[in-house]
């Protein structure tokens, strides 16, 4: 079993390349009428270029807050978030985001939905339209360019959402429980699709999920977070080959990894 990232090679990589994402001593406190609500506390994380990192944690542990800080939608109360070495204080556009619900604009066709970031950023339409069509083809949606969101199934809508997150060629893709609203079979299929998309586009992906098997299946590294205020409890390298199939979900390495992750939650008293 090939180990995807052992310490030696990743250390070498980090010495020569600027990490895609660096989270340094970041905390976030929400100020509300009822006082201060700490959301995330003293988080340090470094994600290399092209890595697939999955974050698991109980509800309310600040995973979404972390994602929002990486995209620039929220500013940390303490610490710094850096993307490609530059500190992030406001939305920087070098991200693609996929939420649990596809959030497509119902008055636009599939192609126009995918082209939305291109329009907003005023990028050359003809070049990026070709890219949009290629992405739709990559995700198996060729022929649906002129359909409307309500004509597509949930899984198809989510794939459009993924294309939209990739069309402007961002450095990072952030996904917040992207397959949570899908049925189990579609979810498994989408996991395989996502792996394929990541292999072909070589994007840095940060994904949040509640599903431990999904985390182990997709990730190069799994980050486990504690309940609120969220801290990083542990980071695991996933000892599976880089090309994975669903069959591997019954392998011993896979089972061992999922057990290790589950113990974190049962130990913390969360089922």
């Amino acid at each position: 079993m090939k180990i995807v990232s052992n310490n030696e090679s990743s250390l070498r990589k980090q010495a020569t390349d600027t990490p895609a994402i660096e989270i340094a001593g970041v905390s976030k406190v929400y100020r509300t009428h009822d006082g201060e609500i700490p959301s995330v506390s003293a988080v340090d994380l470094s994600v290399s270029d092209g890595e697939f990192v999955v974050i698991v944690g109980p509800s309310g542990c600040g995973k979404t807050t972390l994602l929002k800080m990486i995209s620039g939608l929220l500013v940390p109360s303490e610490g710094e978030v850096r993307v490609e070495g530059k500190a992030i204080t406001k939305p920087h556009g070098n991200v693609g985001i996929v939420f649990q619900s596809a959030m497509l604009l119902p008055w636009r066709s599939v192609l126009k939905n995918v082209m939305m970031p291109v329009e907003v950023k005023k990028l050359p339409v003809s070049t990026f339209e070709a890219r949009a069509r290629a992405l739709l083809k990559l995700t198996g949606l060729e022929g649906f360019e002129n359909n409307y969101p309500w004509q597509l199934s949930g899984g198809m809508q989510q794939r459009v959402s993924i294309c939209r997150a990739l069309v402007h060629d961002p450095k990072i893709v952030l996904m917040d429980e992207p397959f949570g609203a899908l049925d189990a079979m579609t979810r498994e299929h989408m996991n395989v699709e996502l792996m394929r998309i990541q292999r072909e586009t070589k994007k840095t992906i940060l994904l949040i999920t509640h599903s431990i098997p999904e985390a182990v299946f997709l990730a190069n590294r799994v980050v486990v977070m504690t309940p609120r205020p969220g801290k990083i409890a542990a980071v695991y390298d996933v000892p599976l080959p880089s090309v994975r199939t669903l069959d591997m979900m019954s392998s011993t390495a896979f089972m061992a990894m999922t057990q290790k992750l589950r113990h974190h939650f049962s130990d913390a008293g969360i089922d």
């Binding site: 929002k68 995209s71 620039g72 939608l73 939305p91 920087h92 556009g93 991200v95 985001i97 939420f99 619900s101 959030m103 604009l105 119902p106 008055w107 939305m116 970031p117 329009e119 907003v120 950023k121 409307y148 309500w150 402007h168």
Partner: protein, 270 residues
């Protein structure tokens, strides 16, 4: 379940046409109306018979049609003003919390002022022309447009806004690409309410100070106790309202074909 004969299916399908069911219902109402008058011996000076009203519609068709024109013009002009200013004010209210806190309560307060009471003031200011009618129609029709448009602008999903902001969209882009199209169904709902109120407003304006229009005809026939003519005038007013509403409905179907409310499916009862 018993199989339907082809005849029964044809009946069911013809019932699907938009005008058939209201027409059937109208026939039912007219029949009940006629029967009740005969049954309870209602005198003709209280409620005219359907035949008397239909006769009045026929004999007074000329004046009714000519008088319908100024009323319709006033209603449409007032409605267009309500639509334009209503949406503009809604953009301002939805765009800024301070504008909202200053303007919205005053707007609500102004709605409690009966327009019937203010309309004579317009006649004093602007004379007996068409302007008081237009203003009256505008004031009554304004509020529904504002309320529904504000609701439409503000009801965009927060995640959608997050997505747009993460793409570095500025406020104008977010408004043009997300908020405004999203608000269209709500705006159309407000416009439909507003257009029927605009007809009411035009008539109120005519009651108060005018010598033309259906409202004027209505007042005169009430004064002369010509009940069939009065009812005929009411029928014409309703028809104006229906026609304007239907025009908006067609516009809605053309503008927002994507909305769930517009996606009809032919329902053939199984």
């Amino acid at each position: 379940m018993a199989a339907r004969t082809p005849f029964a299916i044809r009946i069911a399908m013809s019932l699907q046409r938009g005008w058939v069911r209201p027409l059937l219902f109208l026939c039912l109402v007219i029949t009940l109306w006629d029967v009740s008058i005969r049954l309870f011996n209602v005198p003709s000076y209280q409620i005219p018979t359907p035949t008397a009203v239909l006769f009045a519609l026929y004999t007074d068709a000329g004046p009714l049609l000519t008088q319908a024109i100024p009323t319709t013009i006033a209603a449409v002009a007032g409605f267009i003003l309500s639509a334009v200013f209503g949406i503009l004010v809604a953009v301002l209210i939805a765009g800024s919390r301070s504008v909202e806190s200053y303007v919205y309560p005053l707007l609500v307060f102004s709605q409690s002022i009966p327009k019937v009471a203010i309309a004579p003031l317009f006649v004093v200011w602007f004379g007996f022309g068409i302007l008081p009618k237009i203003l009256s129609a505008f004031l009554i029709g304004f509020f529904p447009v504002v309320v529904s448009a504000v609701q439409g602008f503000k009801s965009v999903e927060p995640e959608m806004l997050d997505l747009a902001r993460a793409m570095e969209a500025n406020k104008l882009q977010i408004f043009r690409m997300v908020r405004f199209p999203h608000a269209m169904p709500a705006i159309f709902a407000g416009l439909k309410v507003s257009v029927t109120l605009a007809v009411v407003g035009a008539v109120v304006g005519e009651f108060v100070g005018s010598n033309n229009g259906i409202g004027f005809l209505l007042q005169r026939s009430i004064g002369n106790f010509e009940l069939p003519t009065m009812f005929a005038a009411l029928v014409v007013l309703s028809l104006i309202g229906v026609a304007l509403f239907w025009i908006l409905d067609v516009l809605e179907r053309m503008t927002i074909p994507w909305h769930a409310s517009q996606r009809h499916q032919l329902i053939i009862p199984a």
